[in-house]
Amino acid sequence: MAETATAPAPAEVKPPVDLVTLTIDGKAVSVPKGTLVITAAFEAGADVPYFCHHPRLKPAGACRMCLVKIEKMNKIQTACTVPVAEGMVVDTVSPEVKQAQNGILEFLLINHPLDCPICDRGGECPLQNMTFQYGPGVTRFIDEKRHFPKAVPISDYVVLDRERCIQCARCTRFTEEISGDGGLAIENRGNGSIISPFTPDGLKSKFSGNTIELCPVGALTSRTYRFAARPWEFQSQDSTCVACGVGCSIAVQTRNGDLMRINGRLNEDINEEWTCDKGKFEQYWVNSEDRAREPLYRMAAQLSRVTWDDALKIATAGFKDAASNPASVAGIASAKVSNEDLYLFQRLFRNGLGSNNIDHRMGSLPTQKMQTSIAEVGEAKTIVAIGTQVDDDLPVLWLRVYKAISKGGAKYFRNDDPKDQSVTDAINAGAGTVLLVWHTVPQADIDYLTAACAASGAKINVLLPDANSRGAINLGILPDQLPGLHPVANGSPSIYETLWGAPVPSEPGLDTKGILEAAAAGKIKALYIMGVDLFAAYPDRDLVQRALDRVPHIVVQDLFVTETAKAAKVFFPTSSFIEREGTVTNIEGKVQTFKKAVASKGQSRADWQILSEVLARLGKTVKYSSARDIIREIDQVTV
C-alpha cells in the first residue's frame, strides 16, 4: 500500500565527490572535501568528546572540549571547526590532548552546581558521561560557585536553570539556524552570560522542545516532565506521531503504564531529528482521568455503563434493522485514526450494511497528491504558502522551509491570493519553486495553480491536515470511491467477492453534508460516528444538532465522551495511539507505524477491533487477529 508522491527515480548518477585522505590516530580515512575533522575522527573510530558541536548546526568552537593535535599546527585545535586537508595527521589520544580534555572539564565543573540527584538530565547527561571518561575525579575548586536564578520558566513548556548552563549555545543556535525564530539569545558576557528569551514575554516558539533534547546538561528542562521520572526507569517505544499530517518519528517513553515524555527520533526523510511542541508536549491527554474507559448505553435518557457484549449486541441490532433499507444507514469517520480502522469502517458499510453513505471530510477536500516529498521542500529556491500558516498547520514542515531559507538562500512568502502578481512571478520562475497550498483553498483555485505549475515546471503541494487524511482518501472513506481510488460507479472489483463474500454496492452514497441533511430530514435511521466530535469539527453546529436529534440509533466510538458522544445511544471507548499498533499515511503518502507502548486504558479497545466485532455479529467472516492482518488485506485490494 506504499503510495509515494513521486514516481520511482531512475538510477541516480551522483556527481563525483572530491575525497580527502587523512590519518587519524594512525588510521587512514577518506572523506568528502569539506568534512570537519571531528566527523572524520568518528568515521575512523576515534572518540572525540564534545558539547557545542552538532552535525546539524554550524560549528561554534565554543566549548573547547574537542581539542585534538594536528601535525604542523602548533596549538591544539578544535576538531569541530577545522575542515580536513589532504595528508593531515591528527592525534586524538596524545598526553597533551588528554590533559587538555581534563582541564576543560575541570573548568566546566567549577561553576556547575552539583544538582545531579535532582536534575532531570541525570542518567542521560553528556556532562556526566564526559566527566567519567575524560574529566578529573576530584575538584580543586574551593571557592563559591557563581549563582543564578534556577527554574526560570522561559516558555509554556521549557524551564531554564541558569546555573547548570555551560554556554554551549546549542539552544540559541537552534533558534537561529533551524527554527528561524531567533527566540533565544545570550545575555550579558563573560561568566555572567545567561541564556535568555529574546523578547521580554518569553520564548514564543513552536519548536522549543528541541532545545531540551539538544541541551547537553539539565539547564533546559521540560515543564511536563520535570522531576517525573529517571531515564533508566522507563521503556522507550519507537513510534510515529499522529498529531498532524507530517507524521514525525518519535520515541514514546512510558513508565508504569503512563506516558512520561515524547522525544524526537531520527528520520532523515521527514523530521530529521526534530519535533514540534504540539507533538512533544500536548499528548498527555492519553494519561487523562477523563479518558473514556467503559462502553456506555443510553437507558432512560442517561448514558450508563454496560458490558462490551451488551453494548455490541445493541449497537449491531440497531444497524441490522436499519440496513434493510441501506439508504438509511450512514457513517462518518475521523481522519486521525489508523488505516486499519478506516479499512474496516468502509468494509462495515459496504460489506456489512450494503451502503456507500460514508465520508470523513468536514468541508471540501482536494484529493490530489503532493508533487514533492517533505525533504524536497528543503531544497526549493522559492517557497510560497497559500492559505496556510505552515508553522501552525504542519509545524515540522516549516523546519524544511526554513532549512531552504537558511541553508539554500531560498525566498519564502505567504499570499492567500493565488492570482497575485508575486505568486504568478514565483510560479513563472519554474523549477525550484514549490507552492504549499492548504486544503481549504477552493478547488477552482487549486486547479488554476496546478495548471500554471505544470506549464512552468514549478511544483504544487496540496496539504492535508490530519495524521491520516491521505489514508482516508486512499482507503475510500468517501461515498464515491473504493480503496485504491477506484470509483464506486465503475462497478465492484472481483477481489471483494473473494475477500468479503459479496460484491460492494455500486451506487455512490451521500457525503458528510448529505448525511447530516438526510439525518435532519429524518431519513437516516442508524448513524455510526468513529473518532470525531462533529460539534467541534463540522462548521455548521446547528445542522449537526438537528441531525443528531432525528437519528434514532447513533453509535459513537471515541477516546473521550465528547459532545457528539453525549448524543449517542451506544458509546464504545477506544484506545489511543500509544496503546495499540497501527499505520497512518502522511501528507506525502508515506505509510508509517505507531506502536503499542502501554496497556489500553480501562476497557478501551482499538477502533478496528470494535468494527471487526460488529462485522462478525452482522454475519460476516472476519479473519483479523492483529492490525497486520488488516494490512495484508489492504495490500490485496489496493494493488
Partner: protein, 460 residues
C-alpha cells in the same frame, strides 16, 4: 637621541594642528596627494621597504596584509581602523586622535587607496568621546576640501569615511570581534584559519577587509611623504630576517616622573625610556618591575632594563612589545594585588564564548581575592599556574592567552609567579589559611597609598 626623529609627532605641539588649515600649513595632505598619483603596488612597496609592522600589538608586517586583498576589484573592500585601544596602559591612539586627527584621516585615505577600498570605518571605543568628536570633525573638514567623497581631487577615486563607536568591550579590540560589533552583532570573535578564511578574504559583510591599528595607518603618512627607505633608516634588525624598523608611540605610565605618550625609535633601551624620557621613578624610589607592552605582556624585572625596546629583543626575554604601553612600578607595589586587579579586568572583559577563558578567568579572580583576604593555601600558587596553563593556547581567541600570560608568562614560562612567588607565599603564610572559612570580599588593601605591600586585610 630618543627625541629624534619624529615621524608622527613632528607637529604635535603646534596650536590648532587639529584644524585642517593649520595642518595643511605644516605639510598636511601632501602625502595624500603623492599617494593618489602613485600606483597601488608602489604604495605597498614603500610600506614594505619601511618595514612597518602592525602597531596594535601583533606586529604583523603591514605590507603582507595589504597585499593579501584579492585582486578582483568588482567586489567591495573595506578598510577598518581599530581604534578600540583597550589594552590596559595604552593611550597612544587616544592622544593621536585628539591632537593629530588629520594624521589619521590622511593615513586612512592613503591606506584605502592602496587597497582600493571605497569605504573606511573607524571603530573607536565608546569611552573615547572626545577623540571620536575630533575625528568626526576632521572627517567633516576633509569632506569640505574634497579629500573625501566622490572623485577626490579629480582622480576618479571615491572614498567615504565613517566613525563607529564601540560600547565598552575590550574584546571588541580583537579583530574578528571588532568586525562582528561593526556589523551590529554581539562582539564575539569569529573563527580563524583554518576554520574560516582570513579577513582579507572574507571579513565584514563577507567582503575582503583590512583591519589596521590607528598608529599603523597614521605611519603611512610619513612613509609615503619621505619614502619607506627614510623610515627604515631607524630601528633594529634586518635587512634579512625579522626587523623592527621605524618609530613607535609608547605610552609610559605608572610610577614615573613624566608619564605620557612619546615617539621613540624602535630599539631604544628600556632604561632610556624610563630614566631619560620619562624622567625616572617618581619620588626617586626604586624600580621594582615593569610591564613592557600592556597588561597582557609578562612583567620584567630591573635585570632587563638594558633590553632594546623592539619586537625581537623583547620576545627573547619571554615577554612581548605588544601595544607599546610601558607601565612602571616602584617598590611600594604588591604584585599579588596588581595581579588581582588584572585578573578582575580579564574576567570582566571575557566575552564568555569559550570555556577556558570564561571559567578560568573567573577562577583566577576568586583565588586571588581569597589570597588577598588572607585565606590563601600553599597549593593555590601552583594552582594559579596550572589554571593559566590550561587557558593558554586553548581559548577561542587571544583574550584567554592575554589573561594567562601575566601569571604564567609566555613561552618561557616566566611571569609574575616566577619572579615574585615569595610575595604570594608571604600572603599565604601570614593569612589565616582556609581555616576560618569566612573572609571579606576584596577591597583594595587598606593602607596601599602609604606603601604597605603585604595586602593584609583584617578578617572577621
Amino acid at each position: 637621541m630618543p627625541t629624534e626623529p619624529k615621524f608622527l609627532y613632528k607637529y604635535r605641539e603646534v596650536p590648532g594642528i587639529d584644524n585642517i588649515n593649520v595642518y595643511e600649513e605644516h605639510e598636511g595632505y601632501q602625502a595624500m596627494r603623492k599617494a593618489l598619483s602613485m600606483d597601488q603596488e608602489a604604495i605597498i612597496n614603500e610600506v614594505k621597504i619601511a618595514g612597518l609592522r602592525g602597531r596594535g600589538g601583533a606586529g604583523f608586517p603591514t605590507f603582507i596584509k595589504w597585499n593579501g586583498i584579492p585582486k578582483n576589484w568588482d567586489q567591495p573592500h573595506y578598510l577598518v581602523i581599530n581604534a578600540d585601544e583597550g589594552e590596559p596602559g595604552t593611550c597612544k591612539d587616544r592622544d593621536l586622535m585628539n591632537y593629530l586627527p588629520h594624521l589619521l584621516v590622511e593615513g586612512c585615505i592613503i591606506a584605502s587607496w592602496a587597497i582600493r577600498s571605497s569605504k573606511c570605518y573607524i571603530y573607536i571605543r565608546g569611552e573615547y568621546v572626545q577623540p571620536s568628536r575630533q575625528i568626526q570633525k576632521a572627517i567633516d573638514q576633509a569632506y569640505e576640501k574634497g579629500y573625501l567623497g566622490k572623485n577626490i581631487l579629480g582622480t576618479g577615486y571615491d572614498l567615504d569615511m565613517y566613525v563607529h563607536l564601540g560600547a565598552g568591550s575590550y574584546e571588541c579590540g580583537e579583530e574578528s570581534a571588532l568586525m562582528s560589533s561593526l556589523m551590529g552583532e554581539r562582539g564575539m570573535p569569529r573563527h580563524k584559519p583554518p576554520s574560516a578564511p582570513l579577513p582579507v578574504i572574507s571579513g565584514v559583510w563577507e567582503s575582503p577587509t583590512i583591519v589596521n591599528n590607528v598608529e599603523t595607518v597614521a605611519a603611512a603618512v610619513p612613509i609615503i611623504q619621505f619614502g619607506g627607505a627614510e623610515y627604515a633608516k631607524y630601528g633594529t634588525g634586518g635587512p634579512t630576517g625579522p626587523a623592527s624598523r621605524g618609530t613607535k608611540l609608547v605610552s609610559i605610565s605608572g610610577h614615573v616622573k613624566k608619564p605620557g605618550n612619546y615617539e621613540v625609535v624602535l630599539g631604544t633601551p628600556i632604561r632610556e625610556l624610563i630614566y631619560d624620557i620619562a624622567g625616572g621613578i617618581r619620588g626617586d624610589k626604586q624600580l621594582k618591575f615593569f610591564i613592557p607592552g600592556g597588561s597582557s605582556t609578562p612583567l620584567l624585572t630591573p635585570d632587563f632594563l638594558d633590553t632594546p625596546y623592539d619586537y625581537e629583543a623583547l620576545g627573547k626575554t619571554g615577554s612581548l612589545l605588544g601595544s607599546g604601553a610601558l607601565i612602571v612600578y616602584d617598590e611600594t607595589v604588591s604584585v599579588p594585588k596588581l595581579m588581582t586587579r588584572l585578573m578582575e579586568f580579564y574576567a570582566h572583559e571575557s566575552c564568555g564564548k569559550c570555556t577556558p577563558c570564561r571559567e578560568g578567568t573567573n577562577w583566577l579572580v576568586k583565588i586571588h581575592q581569597r589570597i588577598m583576604a588572607g585565606a590563601g593555601r600553599p597549593q593555590d600558587i601552583d594552582l594559579l599556574l596550572d589554571i593559566s596553563n590550561n587557558i593558554f593556547g586553548r581559548s577561542f581567541c587571544a583574550l584567554g592567552d592575554a589573561a594567562a600570560m601575566p601569571l604564567a608568562g609566555f613561552f618561557a614560562g616566566k611571569g609574575a609567579i616566577y619572579y615574585f612567588r615569595n610575595e604570594y607565599e608571604e600572603l599565604v603564610r601570614n593569612g589565616s589559611g582556609n581555616k576560618a572559612g569566612h573572609y571579606a570580599p576584596l577591597q583594595m588593601a587598606a593602607g596601599a597609598p602609604s606603601g604597605s605591600s603585604d595586602g593584609r586585610v583584617a578578617v572577621g
